[in-house]
């Protein structure tokens, strides 16, 4: 009996002496690497992560509530404020959803313009992701390179619709602006400009030993886990699922384009990086094709001045740079939507954070937050 108790005491003594205590660290909402106002509560054992809890909602603006009190047209600019680094994609998703509800289709020229601008926006979004992700991991130079090159895309947007970030480029029924004089020439010039730049980023990082060590086998997630957690976009593709809404359920004019879906194998941070780099190249391909065969014709379908969609509901989703961006709209036949639900890719993808960082180190949490490519405006809406 005495032996037993002394053993117990010894065990306890050892535990307090050798094991450091669990430490709870609060990362964010003001932290340089949480990309906005994400707050992550980390439970640590030394530097090892035992568990996380995300606290979100610091940027909640009630977008869905606002939608119920605005007409369909009035709500259009609001969607740009969700994923503000990929505003064009948001606009595309919303406009197409309402068009479907109205049962009209945008004319071919408008659809082509939409594809070109959306793909430019995808490149811009991936560039911003690359810069900030690399900065989190400690490489400061890519940030400046990507911001310099993203500027060229923003210039094209500015010339097209007057805004750089929250573009509001599309309207329900098509596009409101005709392409400007020299649009095609400038986009082509941009393609020639940016292709070597993407090679330049890859030169800096892809074979960089430290980059590889920091990203390989970090934040691994398998295809099964991705699907179970509803993770979409490049994260899903990096796990080996060849699924892209542009191919699976083509919208806009994507059915006319020839491009590949890059996939990874391991589902780690490095593969996600490679997938996104490849996606940028594929987007360049799409833009090149689109510029080559952009048809003539009207850019706006015939839609009523006062939009009153018939009673009914619609779910329409597009492949945003972050994943599946869905709009679920319920109409009660009035000028205002009865309910608008946004299915934000960042929100659902962020859910996987806890699974991906368990057992990793604090530095990996930063890498994984970066690789999930979340935008808090979209997470919180």
């Amino acid at each position: 009996m005495t032996d037993r108790t002394s053993h117990l005491e010894l065990d306890q003594h050892e535990k307090t002496f050798l094991d450091s205590n669990e430490l709870i660290i609060n990362m964010g909402p003001q932290h340089p690497a949480t990309h906005g106002v994400l707050r992550v509560i980390l439970k640590l054992d030394g530097e090892k992560v035992l568990g996380t809890e995300c606290v979100i909602g610091y940027l909640h603006r009630g977008v869905e509530k606002i939608a119920e009190h605005r007409t369909y047209t009035m709500f259009n600019p609001y969607v740009d404020r969700m994923d503000y680094v990929a505003a064009v994609s948001n606009g595309l998703g919303y406009c197409e959803a309402v068009e479907k509800l109205l049962n009209v289709e945008a004319p071919p020229r408008a659809r082509y313009i939409r594809v070109i601008l959306t793909e430019l926006n995808r490149i811009a979004s991936h560039m911003l992701w690359l810069g900030t992700h690399a900065l989190d991991i400690g490489a400061i130079t890519p940030l400046f390179y990507t911001f310099r090159d993203r500027e060229e895309i923003l210039k094209i947007f500015e010339k097209y619709c007057g805004a750089r970030l929250t573009t509001h480029a599309f309207r329900i029924g098509g596009c409101v602006y005709e392409t400007y004089e020299g649009f095609e020439r400038e986009v082509k010039k941009f393609l020639d400009f940016v292709t070597p730049k993407i090679d330049e980023y890859e030169e800096l990082l892809t074979t960089n030993r430290i980059w590889v060590e920091r990203t390989k086998h970090v934040g691994k997630i398998s295809a099964r886990e991705c699907i179970a957690l509803g993770v979409t976009g490049p994260v899903l593709r990096a796990s080996g699922v060849k699924w892209d809404l542009r191919k699976a359920q083509p919208y806009a004019a994507y059915a006319d384009f020839d491009f590949e879906i890059p996939v990874g194998q391991n589902g780690d941070t490095y593969d996600r990086y490679l997938v996104r780099m490849q996606e940028m190249r594929q987007s360049l391909r799409i833009i090149e094709q689109g510029i080559g065969k952009i048809p003539d014709g009207p850019i706006m379908a015939k839609i009523p001045k006062v939009m009153k969609p018939p009673v009914g509901e619609i779910y329409h989703s597009i492949e945003a740079p972050k994943g599946e961006l869905g709009f679920f709209i319920v109409s009660d036949g009035s000028t205002q939507p009865y309910r608008v639900r946004v299915r934000p890719p960042s929100f659902v993808n962020l859910q996987a954070l806890d699974m991906m960082v368990r057992g990793a180190l604090v530095a990996d949490v930063i890498a994984v937050i970066g690789t999930l490519d979340i935008v808090l405006g979209e997470v919180d809406r």
Binding site: G57, I66, Q249, G312, Y315, R339, V348
Partner: protein, 159 residues
């Protein structure tokens, strides 16, 4: 597929319609966890895209909860709808799709529908102590929890 489901669940499937090329099923609320389980296991809807709700204050069962599902093998989307009264518990889909976790929390946050069997049902976007569920139709657009704002932010009102 619908006929298979009808055969299994009989009159529980009230409606199975295609509107604008999109399928949806209106099901009886009593069928709920089993129907979702069947959809995942037998019909291979392995991806839970979204869970949301719509508030119809005039109906007897005010809340229509909508599950949007997608099947990777069949490249097919389906919406499942069921109505619940205020205060009635909705069975949680977390055991079926882990993705439902945050989505259900958001529905709870915005509508106040409880999800039974959810591992950690609490507010997600609004602060924990907030009163009211903003996406209900009786919640005004500039309404806010004045008490919470005063206590936590120390200001009279944001509006």
């Amino acid at each position: 597929m619908i006929s298979r489901l009808r055969a299994q669940h009989g009159s529980g499937i009230r409606e199975a319609v295609t509107y604008l090329g999109q399928k949806y099923i209106v099901a009886d609320s009593s069928l709920m966890p089993e129907l979702l389980q069947v959809l995942r296991d037998q019909e291979e809807f392995d991806y839970c895209v979204d869970i949301t709700a719509v508030h119809y204050p005039d109906r007897e069962k005010q809340f229509e909860v909508i599950w949007i599902l997608y099947s990777f093998p069949h490249n097919e989307r389906i919406r499942v709808k069921a109505s619940y009264a205020d205060g009635e518990a909705v069975p949680s889909a977390v055991p079926i799709w882990p993705a439902a976790n945050w989505l259900e929390r958001e529905v709870y946050d915005m509508f106040g529908t409880r999800f039974e069997g959810h591992p950690d049902l609490k507010r997600i976007l609004l602060p924990d102590g907030w009163k009211g569920h903003p996406l209900r139709k009786d919640y005004g657009i500039i309404q806010q929890d004045q008490e919470w704002v005063q206590i936590n932010l120390g200001i009279e009102s944001g509006q």
